[in-house]
């Protein structure tokens, strides 16, 4: 399918402004974005089918969770933006409380404390909630200030962003911490934060890098960065993941080894093949063509998302929708860059493709919010 096929379907939006409301407007759904998302989801399921290596239960599990994610999208889209605005501070504060609870009473899985177990009800990751709550809170704060934000407002926003990011980093969950920070910071960037400040901050961080290295990063994190530059230094330990994933991708070539034919994944050389490293399976089995297709689909989703954000009827809606789109990009960039060996290994899944439900539900809810701010009347 090409984008020109959708040019025609864009026209009802214009007529929506003129009062003719189509079915999807009444449903608060953007069909083009849903189709693009569904293409990625189906593509992901096909690849996952290969990556689970015949484990039907895992596959069924993922299908079920994706169903739930679509439900989250539809529900989030129905909620009018002003309700998000009203709930944003509450959402953020309760998220902070949950994060503190996790630190003191969380369930430890694989050496890091991320989960909150509510006995008899469910178990969830409050950090996942913060991916939505932080940009909402920043957008809520900025929506009534004049933009671009002043130094003072920028500072307050940075505090709003930094507190949960640091708490999540303490769990430790560097991947989610980066995503939460990125989501909040995206709002600031979209709100017109001075590029000079941004560049200044980046230079300052570079200057402070030795200090960060020494005092902030934990031993294993330092190791991951070192491994990135020289995976062969520890081929069976820290370097294993990156050696095996680049080997998988590289051996796939332009057209890949074919679905279900990837030896690296099938023979268990590739770790986390169905979760964080699934793009290596795509690279191995479907080759450069498969990766390029996926990245193109992602680009189309981002383009469509930003377009919808720009159409929003309020500053809050624009900032929130735009931030969600950029968070989605950070997700995929960090994941693909990590698996292909240009960023250190951090635990970030490939959006909508990796096995595992929570991130898919959060992401789909985010797209629901984007549709909500576009399809609800200006307020």
């Amino acid at each position: 399918m090409s984008t020109t096929d959708f040019q025609r379907t864009l026209s009802p939006y214009d007529s929506a402004a003129s009062g003719v409301r189509r079915w999807y407007f009444r449903l608060h759904i953007d069909p083009l974005l849903v189709i693009l998302l569904t293409v990625v989801v189906i593509y992901g399921l096909v690849v996952l089918r290969s990556a689970v290596d015949g484990n039907e239960a895992l596959f069924a599990n993922q299908v079920q969770r994706l169903g739930l994610a679509y439900l989250a999208l539809v529900v989030a889209a129905q909620i009018p933006p002003h309700l998000y605005l009203r709930l944003a501070p509450l959402f953020y504060l309760s998220g902070l409380i949950f994060l503190l609870l996790v630190l003191f009473a969380g369930v430890t899985v694989k050496g890091s404390q991320r989960w909150l177990d509510i006995p008899g009800v469910f178990r969830f990751q409050p950090s996942e909630l913060m991916k939505l709550a932080v940009p909402m809170a920043v957008a809520w704060y900025l929506q009534r200030r004049s933009l671009p934000p002043s130094l003072k407002h920028t500072g307050i926003c940075l505090v709003i962003i930094a507190v949960p990011s640091l708490l999540i980093g303490r769990q430790p969950d560097l991947g989610t911490s980066i995503l939460v920070f990125g989501a909040g910071f995206a709002v600031l960037l979209l709100a017109g934060l001075s590029w000079r400040w941004v560049i200044g901050a980046v230079l300052a961080i570079c200057a402070a890098a030795p200090l960060l290295w020494q005092f902030v990063l934990e031993g294993y994190q330092r190791q991951r960065i070192l491994t990135l530059f020289n995976p062969e230094s520890d081929p069976l330990g820290a370097g294993w993941n990156i050696i095996q994933s680049t080997t998988a991708i590289g051996s796939g070539g332009l057209l890949g080894k074919g679905l279900f034919e990837g030896s690296q994944g099938y023979l268990d050389f590739l770790p986390e093949a169905r979760t964080d490293f699934i793009v290596a399976v795509i690279g191995e089995e479907l080759g450069f063509a498969g990766v390029a297709f996926l990245l193109t689909m992602y680009l189309l989703i981002i383009a469509r998302g930003l377009w919808l954000a720009a159409q929003a009827g309020s500053t809050f809606g624009r900032l929130l929708a735009g931030a969600f789109v950029l968070t989605f990009f950070i997700y995929l960039f960090v994941n693909v860059a990590m698996v292909s060996g240009i960023l250190p290994v951090v635990g970030v899944p490939l959006p909508l493709v990796s096995y595992g439900g929570t991130s898919a539900i959060t992401l789909m809810a985010g797209f629901g919010v984007i549709m909500s701010v576009r399809t609800h009347k200006a307020w």
Partner: protein, 644 residues
């Protein structure tokens, strides 16, 4: 939150947002471009590097051990088989946590502390960390099942199905067939490392050792795809190993069984040869061992029991046990005397039970001697000296013969040498002569040495195998056929036969002995068994024990070899001697006398009298042989009838 009204310009904010979104979108496109370039780098420019790395990851070349050749007896009964065994192997390279895995294995398989020690030891002396190392030879089905259930915890642990040696007859044929042993580092240095790269067992004893080159076969290869845990998922390419060649022995396993049974639980050896071919029909050494324990693995304490037992079960008495031959040596002395012209068949002397060299005090006694000097055999010629086993006759004969003539003639029978074609490790015994004595003991050859040698005592040592060959030569009327284990000599590549036997079949003493000399010796030995009812000192020495009810003709000679010297004037009190100081009982025999098909030597260690102890054993073996031959003829006849 403080209400701080600020002027908001909606249009300006939309413009600002669109500007920012556009800039950021460009950034997104650029960053995605970086990712694309990275993938192009990996998948296009560096594709070949990663492709080969991926293949190296998954494809391994494994060597395949050839199936060892099987060993059959003369009738095609299986003596050494290959059986399937599930073995536990570790790939050291793939063991994530060595100690943890070992602890888990010990718990899962309920290994004994001995087995655990073996496991650790093998892992330490591992030669290839990337290849499976077998640590437990054979697992039970329950153990295999438990491993399968816990597979996910056991990276680097494999269950390998392979063929291992199995000896269906166990102890009975142990010393005849030999056995294989787990290869050691030293073994590895001695063989072609390529051919043996997948082999874990090597022939260490007997036929298994000598014919190693034929039995082993040639190594094969397979290319396999294995996963990150070292487990083989798929076989890509196989070059099958070529199995070793089978061997057919002269051995008659039924006769072997009967021989072992005839010896019972006594220590000793039996070697039976077909004089026509030299083929070894039975080779028994007792006590024996179960060769299967070397395959299935044994504990350290089991091994030390085997190797330190006072009864040395691992010792092959039949070819390596060296004993004085005693009176079984007398036929050789007699024929040497005839050949050297020192005596004739008609010449007789008077045997009064004792012999003295002229001018010496020492008294050499007959076995029949008693303190009151009432012993002796009366007038004896060579024939009577054989069937009565007169010591005095042979003392006299040996003392009158040049020692070189006696030793030279004895050497032609293979004494002092190993004439067995395919047992290079067989002992040579000791055939003493003046040169040896001067060199070894720094003493001259005394006439008394010749006298002692006349009755097979002194320094003379022989093996049961050598005495079986002596019996075979006499059975053939002087024709020597070197003994051999394997019937189909074949054209294997390292078919090295014993160098000594290059001088194969030949006639002994052809220049000095006529065929009637041999015939007379045969008849004399026939008398040992069959001459009976002749009154006091008129019967063959073995007649009373084996000759009364025999329905075929058998020739034999008994021997009773002293282990400790008996001082002058003392009577031999068997009961007072410790177990290992008692006399060895010998009997050599062949049958049927006219057309011999079996020649044998029986030795019972510390058993006592040759005629009373060893002769009945020999009779039982020959009985079994005659019965088996009748059965064989009957079945081939009925087959013939059926064919018509």
């Amino acid at each position: 939150m403080a209400v701080e009204l600020e002027i908001k310009d909606q249009n300006r904010e939309v413009e600002l947002f669109v500007g920012r979104a556009t800039t950021l979108f460009v950034l997104v496109v650029l960053l995605l471009g970086v990712l694309m370039l990275r993938f192009l780098d990996l998948q296009f420019w560096e594709h070949d590097t990663y492709k080969s790395r991926s293949d190296k990851n998954r494809i391994q070349v494994q060597t395949l051990a050839p199936a060892r050749g099987m060993i059959f007896d003369r009738d095609g009964k299986l003596l050494a088989d290959n059986q399937n065994a599930a073995s536990l192997a570790l790939v050291a390279d793939r063991l994530a946590d060595v100690d943890g895995t070992l602890t888990l294995l010990v718990k899962l398989l309920e290994l004994s502390s001995d087995q655990e020690a073996v496991l650790h030891k093998r892992l330490q002396s591992n030669r290839r960390p990337d290849a499976p190392l077998i640590v437990v030879e054979s697992l039970t089905e329950a153990q295999v099942a438990r491993l399968a259930v816990n597979r996910h915890q056991l990276s680097g642990v494999e269950v390998i199905n392979r063929l291992v040696r199995f000896y269906p007859y166990g102890e009975v044929a142990a010393h005849a067939v030999g056995s294989v042993r787990r290869m050691t580092v030293d073994d590895m240095l001695a063989v072609d490392p390529v051919q043996y790269s997948a082999t874990t067992f090597i022939g260490k004893r007997g036929v298994e050792a000598f014919y190693e080159g034929r039995l082993h076969g040639e190594v094969g290869y397979q290319k396999v795809e294995s996963d990150a845990h070292g487990r083989v998922r798929r076989t890509l390419d196989v070059q099958s190993p070529s199995p070793g060649k089978d061997l057919r022995l002269h051995l008659d396993i039924e006769l072997q069984k009967a021989s072992a049974a005839a010896l019972g639980d006594r220590r000793g050896a039996i070697v039976a040869i077909d004089p026509r071919s030299g083929g070894v029909l039975a080779l028994v050494s007792q006590p024996a061992y179960d060769p299967n324990v070397f395959v299935s693995g044994m504990t350290a304490s089991d091994f030390s029991d085997l190797s330190t037992s006072a009864y040395v079960p691992l010792f092959n008495r039949a070819v390596n046990g060296q004993y004085a031959p005693g009176s079984t040596f007398k036929p050789i002395v007699g024929l040497a005397g005839i050949g050297a012209g020192v005596t004739t068949w008609d010449q007789a002397i008077e045997d009064r039970g004792a012999f003295q060299l002229s001018g010496q005090e020492r008294v050499y006694r007959d076995w029949s001697w008693t303190k009151d000097d009432s012993g002796g055999q009366g007038m004896v010629d060579l024939r009577r000296a054989i069937y009565r086993s007169s010591n005095v006759y042979f003392y006299d004969l040996a003392s009158r013969m040049a020692i070189e003539d006696l030793v030279g003639f004895a050497a032609e029978f293979g004494l002092g040498r190993n004439l067995v074609a395919d047992i290079p490790s067989a002992s040579v015994g000791l055939l003493p002569d003046p040169v040896w004595k001067q060199g070894f003991k720094d003493l001259p050859w005394y006439p008394g040495d010749s006298v002692n040698m006349g009755i097979g005592q002194g320094d003379l040592l022989v093996t049961p195998m050598q005495m079986a060959l002596v019996a075979s030569v006499i059975a053939n009327r002087g024709g020597l056929k070197p003994p051999r284990m394997v019937a189909d000599a074949g054209e294997g590549k390292d078919e090295g036969t014993n160098q000594v036997t290059a001088q194969t079949a030949r006639q002994i003493g052809a220049e000095v002995l006529g065929s009637d000399d041999w015939e007379k010796m045969v008849r004399s030995m026939e008398d040992v068994v069959h001459r009976g009812n002749q009154g006091f000192r008129g019967n063959g020495t073995a007649w009373a024990y084996i000759g009364r009810d025999i329905d075929y003709r058998m020739a034999g000679k008994s021997g009773t070899a002293q282990v400790v010297e008996i001082r002058q004037g003392e009577e031999y009190e068997e009961e007072e001697l410790s177990e290992f100081d008692r006399k060895h009982a010998w009997f050599i025999a062949f049958a049927p006398v006219d057309k011999p098909t079996i020649a044998l030597a029986v030795l019972v260690e510390n058993g006592g009298g040759g005629s009373s102890v060893a002769a009945p054993v020999a009779r039982a073996v020959v009985d079994a042989h005659m019965r088996l031959q009748r059965d064989r003829e009957a079945s081939s006849q009925s087959l013939e009838v059926a064919r018509r």
